[in-house]
């Protein structure tokens, strides 16, 4: 049995924040889970996927084709009265935001939890947008766990809050909560719903937001989120510690750095710390109570001044003008990248005018003798089929005299590492699926030979509609679909195109070639290559290049790591 579904109350286990969320959902009797993988959220889906193949469970799980679909799957489950959870990385919520904004209007019946994993410092992402702003944008309650144990507790609580206010609840983690491992105490698994199906009760005046309905629902949303203010106000996730003359407000992992700084600077008796876990709606009275007890407040939060701005609004509304706020606006803390414990400690020292620091002994010694060190960026694995495809395309371009005019729009996956020398074949990237859409734009605006690269999972995620666009609007480029039969980068999740399947998983395969043909690409302009058969591959690519038409090359060869894991003997 998978350890996360063992019914062992009080058992203590070291869990990743992501695993703790899974455990929380299991304890809360989750019924439907959907996800599209993305670091740092991936282990949530991976664990649900593993567990869902166990016969002892009673929830449905799927890897959906993208985050928008995943959120729609979860929304419908909640509308049918079942508890549902959807998880994604921060940029995934952009994809799902069309659902999010209106789902907030129509609301939910069964509790619905949206797990959103932000990535400050962009450890594995193309941007570090602060998705707390989505909670305010959509008017949905939001919780920010500080530890794996709290991630589990918040997941359980989020279902209850969701059912109380009839809205989905966002749990916003960051890399340092998702990928921190800490002790988590198991609770009871409450299996009250057995395995009955949900029932959808028709109510077009609620569920079908045509303008007349949407107007009513917007009003209902504002009423519901106002109810959440009281819940946030009374929530144990928001706590005031200490009674000192100096105020600190913090949230998420930044709270941990604050607590450690208070301890190491030995300033406990000087600090009143409002430690926030329920950050939207913000607990207004608790903030007013802090503001009326101190003259200075440092606001410690990663990325955008989300709490800082909210505090300033409250100050204006309450006519509080005798408190100085230190934070992003005073430059004491940066708006970019994740914090470190030292950065937070230094900011507190600066704001409080503390000069002596017992931790000075921890100053790094002189390291000027260290020579310039070679970098070690991540690379495509030895023997990775993507390398072979890139090399074959490069050879074909050289042999056809097109190498100098070629540009390479690329996409999100392992193959983005084609950016690095000696391959150097990634020129333009925005987001999932952008290789195809931007190729349309380059085709309309330049005379370059355009060769774009996209993986199989990314193609299903958001490569299909721009390919239809390319056909319809007569764009001219070569799309190379790197089909390695898995979603490799995020940990080998299945996607609709896979032909190699993990044990116990036999969902039908959707043929990429047939999809491409269905998009309207002319059948003679679609070729399949095996990148390891170098000469054949180069020959086929050259023919396609010389056609100068919209074409698709499907380069088929499984990810070597995945093939080794699934078919160790073959």
């Amino acid at each position: 049995m998978h350890p996360l579904i063992e019914d062992k109350p009080d058992y203590k286990m070291l869990l990743l924040g992501n695993e703790a969320i899974v455990r929380g959902a299991i304890e809360a009797d989750i019924r439907v889970v959907s996800s599209y993988p993305g670091t740092p959220s991936s282990e949530i889906g991976n664990n649900f996927f593993m567990i869902s193949r166990d016969k002892n469970i009673n929830f449905y799980f799927e890897f959906s084709v993208n985050e928008k679909v995943a959120m729609e799957v979860a929304a419908a489950a909640s509308a049918s009265g079942l508890r549902s959870l959807v998880c994604m990385k921060h940029v995934g919520l952009n994809v799902a935001s069309d659902v999010l904004m209106t789902l907030a209007y129509i609301g939910v019946v069964g509790g619905m939890v949206i797990i959103n994993a932000d990535d400050p410092s962009m450890h594995s992402s193309q941007n570090e947008q602060d998705n707390r702003i989505f909670a305010r944008f959509a008017n949905l309650p939001m919780l920010e766990p500080r530890s794996p144990q709290e991630a589990k507790e918040m997941t359980i609580k989020a279902f209850e809050i969701s059912e109380t206010v009839g809205l989905p609840v966002i749990i916003r983690t960051t890399t340092r909560t998702s990928h921190v491992r800490g002790p988590v105490t198991f609770g009871q698994i409450n299996r009250k719903t057995a395995s009955e199906k949900g029932v959808f009760k028709k109510d077009p005046k609620r569920w079908v937001p045509v303008p007349a309905v949407a107007r009513l629902r917007h009003k209902a949303l504002i009423e519901q989120i106002n109810k959440a203010v009281k819940i946030s106000e009374e929530s144990d996730f928001n706590k005031i510690n200490g009674k000192g003359e100096f105020g600190i407000i913090s949230s998420g992992v930044a709270s941990n750095y604050v607590i450690d700084a208070i301890n190491s600077l030995n300033i406990k008796d000087r600090i009143m710390h409002l430690d926030l876990g329920f950050t939207f709606p913000i607990p207004r009275d608790k903030i007013i109570s802090l503001l009326s007890s101190v003259k200075n407040v440092i606001i410690v939060e990663e990325l955008e001044p989300f709490i800082e701005d909210a505090v300033k609004v409250i100050m204006v509304e309450e006519g509080i003008s005798n408190v100085d706020i230190y934070g992003k606006s005073t430059g004491i803390l940066p708006r970019i990248y994740e914090f470190t414990p030292r950065l937070v400690r230094e900011a507190i020292k600066e704001a409080m005018g503390i000069n002596d620091d017992k931790d000075n002994e921890q100053e790094p010694p002189s390291l000027s003798w260290i020579p310039e060190l070679p970098m070690r960026p991540p690379v495509l694995c030895k023997g990775c089929p993507h390398r072979e495809t890139y090399n074959a395309v490069k050879s074909a371009l050289k042999e056809t005299g097109r190498i100098d005019s070629a540009i390479y729009p690329t996409d999100i996956g392992c193959y983005t590492l084609g950016l690095l020398p000696p391959i150097n074949m990634a020129d333009y990237l925005i987001c999932m699926g952008s290789s195809v859409g931007t190729s349309c734009g380059f085709s309309a605006s330049t005379d370059h030979t355009i060769i774009s690269f996209i993986g199989d999972s990314t193609f299903f995620h958001s490569g299909i509609s721009p390919l239809v666009n390319a056909v319809h609007n007569r764009h001219k480029f070569i799309l190379v679909i790197l089909d390695n039969s898995t979603t490799a980068m995020t940990g080998h999740q299945p996607n609709p195109g896979i032909t190699i399947k993990p044990e116990g998983f036999d969902n039908p395969t959707v043929s990429i070639e047939e999809v491409v043909r269905g998009c309207g690409v002319s059948p003679e302009n679609i070729v399949k290559i095996n990148p390891y058969k170098k000469n054949d591959a180069i020959k086929a690519i050259k023919e396609i290049i010389l056609k100068d038409e919209l074409s698709v090359i499907i380069s088929e060869s499984p990810c070597i790591l995945f093939a080794k894991r699934v078919r160790p003997k073959s």
Partner: protein, 195 residues
Amino acid sequence: MDKPMRILFSGVGGQGTLTASSLLAQAAIREGKEAILSEVHGMAQRGGVVESTVMIGGIKSAIISDGEADVLVSFEPLEAIRALIKCHKNCCIITNINPIIPFTVDIGGPQYPDVNYCLSKMKETFRKVIAIDADSIADKSGTKKAVNVVLLGVLFGTNILPISRNSMIETIKERVKPKFIDANIKAFEMGLEMV
């Protein structure tokens, strides 16, 4: 409660860095101590630098700022040098001496540093530096993959941790696949003897 301790593990994707940090934290938990870890997942694991931390003694922050590491365990010498910025001068440094040359060296990047020179400078700068050939010890123990357990052995050999050797051995027995237990225990003991 034990004195707070920040332990940094550094290595190259695929070397077993995360397993080592996780085993250590489990040994701490086994003794009822508080322990948290931070890990690197995703893109970096494709042959890039992998760093993980283990914090014991009730520290809430899961990452290590510059100059904060009490212990550095590195699986590769270049990555040990790169991680020195995280260490204070009383830090205990344990490093494997076998280089894994990054591809950037071959394409005109900076040269791989002179390991012997850097080791001697490290010994001048830091309180304790232990440099060993963990690969060949692992090989002698019966499994090349036990480099991480050899390094854990060396770490326990220094006696700086508030965790007993026995808890570590029991954790290894519990977490390692049955057919590799003997080799891993041997690797751990050979690591212990290196100090």
